[in-house]
Symmetry: C7
Subunit: 249 residues, 7 copies
């Protein structure tokens, strides 16, 4: 009772500390991330994989056009979970930062640099009044100096680097699956397979290429490549065997 | 009880998260959309159709002048549902963006580009304090590079692309009707018919050309064309047969 | 009880949505319109008529100087109902817009264009914080390209076009009277008569030229002309007969 | 009970509508006017009269220096009732506007024009947040194109023109007295007499030249002239006879 | 009870009207004046006298340096009562205005002009949000065109001119004393005596030159002159006789 | 009870008056001063002495570096009590003002001038909204034109000059001690001794040179000189005798 | 009860004093520091040591990339405890200040100067409204003019210098351990050992090089050097002996 009313007192003031040193608005923004559809990132020596769950409200909604893996720059893709309109704002911000970097230094922005620019931007919305935190987590994957890099940003404006990670609805189960099945030396194909497999643990449905988005940035081309439905389907075909197998475990 | 007072706590602060990661002001703005009269969009290979319910308060209100399908540019029309004055603001914004694009790049704005400009604008009103979200949903239909495109924007600032959609009062029933009756390869005439038929499911009245607005953008002319009452009446005549038929089902 | 306290919660925050998608401040501003003295507009093929109820607090108040029908431009008049000081602000704004239009395009502003400028201005006060909505409805009548036009603006910033309309105290009864008695092809004289007759239904008093203002814009001169007391009296003389007659119905 | 707490809810937010369409802060500012000492204005064909009650807190307060009839321009005087410091702000504003008009158009500002400038200024303080309404009513009297003009401004920013009026403490009784005794064709002397007589009805005291201020603007000189104590005394002498007479009625 | 909670409602909003047309924040600022140590002003044909009570918290506090009669310009002194830090702000403001006037017009600022500048400044803090009223009353005394002038400013921003006045703790008793004993034709010495005598009525203590400040501006020199302790003592010696005498009355 | 809730009402609004004419936020800031460790100032004909209590949280905290007597300029030192971070802000402000004065007038800033600059700055934070008062009292000591000067600033922005004073925890007892033992003609050594003795009354501990800071500005050098631990120890040795003696009284 | 509700009253207003002279928001920000993972600083004559606890949420999180000891400049490192995103803001601020100093004065910034710049920045967020305090404590270690320096900043904006210190979770126990075991003349190796040993008291786990970060700035090179896992492991090997030994005590 008391705890509840106390909690209400703090979350109404946008950016203030609670007596136990927490920022409730940031924690509530994390709930918006948990409500979002799942996104996965997997880093392999050959490149990074991003995979997303593209759920639809109606069969009339256009599948191909709902971009859920965004190109921040030729060599960097971003997947997200949470409040969709907030994600788009951050992705627009990322694109501008990438262009500014190109103009200013004459070279593509680094994945880590871009991630820090984004988290600085996010942090501002948690400290200065008059606005709310961004209700979105991003997975930022790309290749930097020939090295695949995979980062996460959260609503507090903290960045962390991962070998493989999941955000959004079902994160805990998906992280468990990744921790059990991730191998450091897996190739890119295996990475795509793991990503799709992990996504399946979150959705509990038969994987459907139309409702899944997959993109890769490999260390050779250093280009973000979105897979088409046929490519995804062929991965799913392999995956189903694996799912069965894992079901037997 | 408790839930209700808790809800009140969050919706008074314009742009803050609730403990379960929701933005109540955005959800309430969606209620304003639901209170609005219905609008329909249908995309066919030959072009897009926009149809709207023009309800009047008095027979003295001027029917022809109540513009409910707005021209954003020669090749793009916008229909809306929700708070009428907010819709006009967004449509004015869209027109300016279309002009700016023409001036800056020497070519007509793309339908997708324009939709993103609008949703960026909408999103700002959901994150920064001192203003309220727009209480309106838009259907943006046009032709881009010879391809018909049909988008929806919602009060959160999210865009989505559709084959056919409905917004405003009766959306659920209208979407059901569209999902059942939409055919990907229908021609523009069939599209107009489907739109009018769907509108009729929302209003439960005899369709009346004076209270309906219909416009199309076909892939040939790439021009927004508003239908006059006679044209609408001839579609209604055909439609009535169809309604009867569908009533028999 | 609950409903009442809930309502209070929303109307204190100037520009936010209620859970059922309404803007209470705008609805309360509409109450200010209902508290205002009545204004009437009638459109005939020969021109538009504006008529207003000029009620006084004291016989010492100067009747001729209380301008209740305002000239926005030579060819456009504006009548109002509601908060008087707000009305004057909007009328000043209208005059400036008319001058700006003349300077920028070298021609008189259109009635529809001017109406939209005004409603854009009104809408801003309903969305951005730090101010309250305008508590006034305007009737904007004029001639545009030889055509008589008659518009209404409301406190939400919505415009609508009418053949004949009434705003302010007694609107419902006056609209009923207009709907029953309006004829599309009536001449300007008949229009003035209908306006005065309708005004009488709102005031329940003997019409008194000193307490009534009437102005017309005819399609010939395209000039706003205010009627003097004698002219109004002669219309009232005819009107009384009509009132008696209508009383017999 | 309920009504009271509801009222409290609205008057704390500076510039918002109440559910019945009222602006409580403006109505409360009108109470500040009612608390102020009385001011009178009388218009005659020969010029306008302003008369004010100069009440003192102590016999040591300097009578001659407490300016209660202010010169806005050579040909315009302003009397006030209400919050004294607010009155001075508006009078300073009026003087600046008069100077600006002189500089811009090379001629003295009109009385009506000046009144509108002032009421525009007042209205802003009732609509935009962050400030309170002016708690003062002004009587603005002057000569314009040879014609005497007499205006009132109220805390809502509404202007009205009068033949004779009273503001401040005892307004109702004073207006009654003016309505009974005002004659359109009275000369300026009679106007001064009526003003002093009316002031006496508000104060219930023996009129005392030291506590009364009187000024006139006649149509001949078009100059504001403040009467000295002797001049006022001679009017009072005549007035007393009249008071006795009126007491007999 | 009810009155109390109602009062609380109004004084929290800095600058809004109460239902009975009062500004509580201004009235509370007047309480800060009443809490301040007393200041006296006396105007004689030969010049003005300012006298202040310099109460100390500790014998270690430096008496000579606690300036309580401030020089606004060579010919104008200011005494104050109320919130000390606020007084210093206003005095700094007065000095700047005096310098600006000298620079702009090449002559010393008039006492009345300076008083109005100060009260304009004070009034702003009572109308515009985001700040509180000044909690101080000033006595402004000086010589203007050979004439001694004595003004008071209060927290509402109202100015008044006096022959003799007192502000701060014990104002009512001091004003009574001044009203009884002030003579219009008293010379400057008598004025100093009256000021010291009046101050004694407020403090109920034996007058102590170390705790009293006195300054004069005489019409000959037109210069503010602060009296030293010896000069004050000689006045006190005379005063004591007078006090005894007045005690006998 | 009632008093308490009333008090709460006023201290939440940063800079508003309470009904009894007080500024609670300023009074609460004074509580922060009382919570601070003690600082002492003593003025002798030979110069001024500043002494401070440097309490530590841990023996690992670096004693020599915790500057508690700050150099505002070569000839002016500042000691403080209260919120440490606020003190540093004011001291930085003082240093800038001293530099500005040097640059603008080509001579060192006066002690009184600097004190007024600081108190003006402090006062702003008590009147304008959007910030809180400074929770710190300063003792400003220096030499000006060969004269030792000693000032205090408080959280309201009031300055006062002292022969000797104490601020912070135990002020009342320390002031008592100073009042009893201060002699106007004591030399600088005696001044240091009195300061240390007074500090000991506040701390109730054996004086420890490591936890005490002492600095002087003498009229010869006009330079702020910080005493080292050995110098302080030799004073303490003498002091202890005095303490014993005073204990015998 | 009463205390609790009173406390709530003050912590909602971001930057205001409580009646007992405290800033609750700053105290709550200190709670955020206590919730953070531990950081240690040790100063020896040979240089300074920074050591941090790098806890991970998942084995998939990239250990090498989670920078917890940041380079502010070549010769200055910063460790932190508390809200991670806030720490990064301050570290970015520190880097900019270091660069500005280099550009402006042509030499590396001093450790003390940089610390003061940071605490000035922190203090602003505790006094001016519209933002919250930084929820982070920093340990700033470096070499300045050949001397090792070790500072702490807290959320109030206070700086202090230490021989050895700990911040974050378990601070009390760690400070105890440091106070018992710190020796002023220990060499840098012993300093690293003490830091790791102290960290172990906070975590209660077997020290794991992968979860610990260590960096030094020695007086010879004046360069921040991060230790790799092997180096840390060799220290841990030695440390374990020490831990056993200390366990025997």
């Amino acid at each position: 009772m008391q705890g509840q009313s106390q909690q209400q007192a703090y979350d109404r003031g946008v950016s203030i500390w609670s007596p136990d040193g927490r920022l409730y608005q940031v924690e509530y923004a994390r709930e918006a991330v948990k409500r979002g559809t799942a996104s996965i990132g997997v880093r392999t020596p050959d490149g990074v994989v991003l995979a997303v769950d593209k759920r639809f409200r109606s069969p009339l909604e256009e599948r191909s056009s709902v971009e859920k893996i965004h190109k921040a720059d030729d060599h960097i893709g971003i997947a997200s979970a949470g409040h969709v309109a907030d994600a788009r704002q951050l992705i627009d911000f990322a694109r501008q930062q990438a262009q500014v970097n190109q103009l200013r230094y004459g070279e593509p922005v680094g994945v880590e640099t871009l991630t820090k620019d984004i988290t600085d931007h996010i942090q501002q919305y948690t400290q200065v009044g008059g606005a709310r935190p961004f209700g979105v987590a991003l997975i930022i994957g790309g290749v930097e100096d020939g090295e695949p890099r995979l980062y996460e940003t959260d609503p507090s404006g903290t960045a962390s680097e991962w070998q493989a990670l999941a955000v959004g609805s079902g994160r805990a189960e998906m992280l468990d699956h990744l921790e059990e099945n991730y191998r450091e030396e897996m190739d890119l194909d295996a990475g795509v397979g793991l990503a799709l497999e992990t996504l399946a643990t979150a959705t509990d449905d038969e994987p459907d290429a139309a409702e899944i988005g997959v993109a890769t940035v490999d260390v050779e081309t250093e280009r973000l490549a979105q897979l088409d439905d046929d490519e995804i389907d062929s991965y799913i075909d392999e995956l189903e065997l694996d799912v069965d197998e894992s079901a037997e475990e």
